[in-house]
């Protein structure tokens, strides 16, 4: 009964996910024992540095891991409202449900808008194509929906712009087009992988505002991958902190950013220049973490206030776990 209740609240439940990459020196884990859930209708941020496994985790959800990478164990239970749920990991590569998953039930916004768009098709063509792939509508209807969606993401003069090619758009405008493509089929889960990292800070602020406003309007679930805690603070309801392929801490945005339990999370926050006093040396991860153990994969422990953290038994007691 309890299991059932949790499944209903979450659009996605990742359990014990492990991904290996075959390299010259043997198998390397990109992700191991990763478990977290994405609550429905909320924004979940996965935050971590390069090599933390945050993008690999996102790619697993869309089944985009390709050789030499391989999902070796774990499950990703997807519970859409429009259709029956299933474990994404267990689908075969030819399963028709994968086609529905990619672009219809879920969609993804990538870091670099130019590589996500084809240079040889007009933007209207590319947004309409997403609809024509997944909906039984005429071409004219698809184009009309494309016009509506592009207007909604803030493209001015859409009737003219829709016939233009991606190179005629600025970086910020291209990212708006990619967001329109991603949202036009009204996905239940939108995955954003560093969508504002390549943009200027002013354009980033505009795109973050757009994603936040659209999420509140459409009430879809968002998984937001980023390395920037400022972006996390502005957008997320729930935060998952990853480090070297493992989850270190999960909690609400206020719990994790205002009162981090894990020394690594404290280090990430302290290393942001704005928080240090001018003229003082910046804290680095190692100066904050000290001799706390980051290498041993301690299990995620459920704390009293609903948050989870992976700490050594000593630190766990200090954090108030009985």
């Amino acid at each position: 009964m309890g299991e059932q209740k949790i499944a209903e609240d979450n659009v996605l439940a990742i359990r014990d996910l492990a991904v290996e990459f075959k390299t010259d020196i043997g198998m390397t884990y990109a992700v191991r024992d990763v478990s977290f859930s994405v609550p429905r209708g909320k924004v979940t941020a996965v935050v971590g540095e390069s090599g933390s496994g945050k993008s690999v985790t996102a790619n697993c959800i869309m089944r985009l891991i390709q050789p030499p990478g391989k999902i070796v164990s774990g499950s990703i239970d997807f519970s859409p409202t429009r259709t029956d749920g299933y474990d994404i990991v267990s689908l075969s590569n030819k399963d028709p449900r994968l086609f529905d998953l990619r672009g219809d039930l879920m969609s993804m916004v990538f870091q670099e808008p130019m590589t996500a768009l084809s240079p040889v098709y007009t933007v209207g063509n590319q947004v309409a194509e997403a609809i024509l792939c997944h909906r039984d509508v005429s071409e004219a209807e698809a184009w009309q929906e494309a016009v509506d969606m592009l207007t909604r993401v803030g493209i001015d003069d859409v009737s003219r712009r829709i016939h233009q090619y991606p190179f005629e758009f600025s970086g910020g405008m291209r990212q708006r087009v990619v967001i329109a493509m991603a949202l036009v089929c009204n996905p239940e889960l939108l995955i954003c992988d560093e969508p504002t990292t390549a943009l200027d800070v002013t354009i980033q602020a505009e795109i973050l505002t757009l994603i936040r406003d659209l999420q509140q309007e459409l009430k879809n679930s968002v998984l937001f991958i980023t390395h920037d805690l400022g972006v996390v603070a502005q957008l997320a309801d729930q935060v998952v902190v990853m480090y070297q392929g493992r989850v270190l801490e999960i909690g609400t945005v206020r719990q994790v950013l205002k009162d981090p339990l894990h020394p690594y999370t404290r280090g990430l926050l302290a290393a942001i220049p704005g928080l240090a006093q001018k003229g003082e040396r910046l804290e680095t991860i190692s100066s904050v973490v000290g001799d706390a153990d980051l290498e041993t994969p301690y299990p995620l422990t459920q704390m009293a206030d609903g948050r989870q953290v992976s700490l050594s038994p000593d630190l766990l007691r200090e954090a108030g776990h009985e």
Binding site: E49, S50, V201, E206, A233, L268, K278, L282
Partner: protein, 271 residues
């Protein structure tokens, strides 16, 4: 308190009729860090390159106070510039593309000394070892190639290469932008330590305003090739005078969830 190192006056540069830098003037004191901030296309990198004569400006003057007197960089020939290049060095953004993958770290760091005909084999080795320890790399790094290093370590190699000639002026063009936040903090601390030890003057080009706030004494805010605001960093951050500076500052997402992001309003921008 300290003497002027660089005076830039009326510097302008266009590319095929597109104005990149438009009548920019500033001066830079010894041991000072001046930040140049702005969005992509604001002309900050072009300005930095014009100052070093990496590209030739269309108009304006750049006066550099070198070890052996004052020089008007804009008037010098390429040949006359060569000895001055020892005193002005650059650290680049991308720690991957800015190091030659076919050279060992020893070769990368020694090359500037060889080009400028400084010292013999033994004294060059000594200079390389000295700078290597200053950027906190181990001696066994010398025989390895750039691919064997992480992004942060490569940036240390890039900094060492710039400093081996003992320059007075170092231009850092987005030198910490490509790094993870924890590595970025280490490199910022390193740049500040080296400035104290070696009396360096930095021209620090960046789009990340929190980094600029931390490391710079004064800043120039650029927009469409022009300087829209200039001043001591605390003054500009605490009391920005221009609408564009206010907009730029308000766009930084705070890591405090209780400080909401203000939507960008370009319509009321008075430029």
């Amino acid at each position: 308190m300290s003497e002027t190192l660089l005076e830039v006056n009326g510097l302008s540069k266009s590319f095929d009729g597109v104005v990149a830098v438009d009548d920019v003037s500033f001066s830079l004191n010894s041991s000072e860090t001046l930040g140049i901030v702005g969005e992509s296309g604001s002309g900050k990198t072009t300005l930095a390159r014009c100052v070093l004569r990496a590209i030739d400006p269309d108009a304006g003057t750049v006066r550099f106070h070198g070890k052996h007197g004052q020089y008007d960089l804009h008037n010098l020939s390429e040949r006359e510039l060569i000895p001055l290049r020892q005193e002005m060095q650059m650290v680049f953004q991308d720690p991957f593309s800015s190091l030659n993958p076919r050279m060992t770290v020893q070769e990368i760091m020694e090359e500037p000394l060889i080009i400028h005909g400084i010292g013999d084999r033994a004294s060059r080795r000594e200079a390389v070892l000295d700078i290597l320890s200053r950027v906190q790399l181990e001696q066994d790094a010398l025989t390895r190639y750039p691919h064997a290093f992480s992004g942060g370590q490569r940036q240390r190699i890039g900094i060492a290469r710039a400093l081996v000639l003992r320059p007075k002026l170092v231009v850092c063009d987005e030198s910490v932008s490509a790094l993870d936040v924890s590595v970025q903090a280490q490199i910022i601390n390193l740049l500040e330590d080296l400035q104290d030890e070696l009396g360096l003057t930095y021209l620090f080009v960046a789009h990340n305003l929190s980094v600029v706030h931390h490391i710079c004494d004064r800043i120039l805010v650029m927009y469409h090739g022009r300087v829209v605001e200039e001043g001591p960093v605390e003054e500009v951050f605490n009391n920005p005078q221009q609408d564009y500076t206010k907009l730029l500052l308000s766009a930084i997402p705070s890591p405090d969830p209780d400080v909401p992001l203000v939507p960008i309003d370009r319509a009321n921008l008075n430029l």
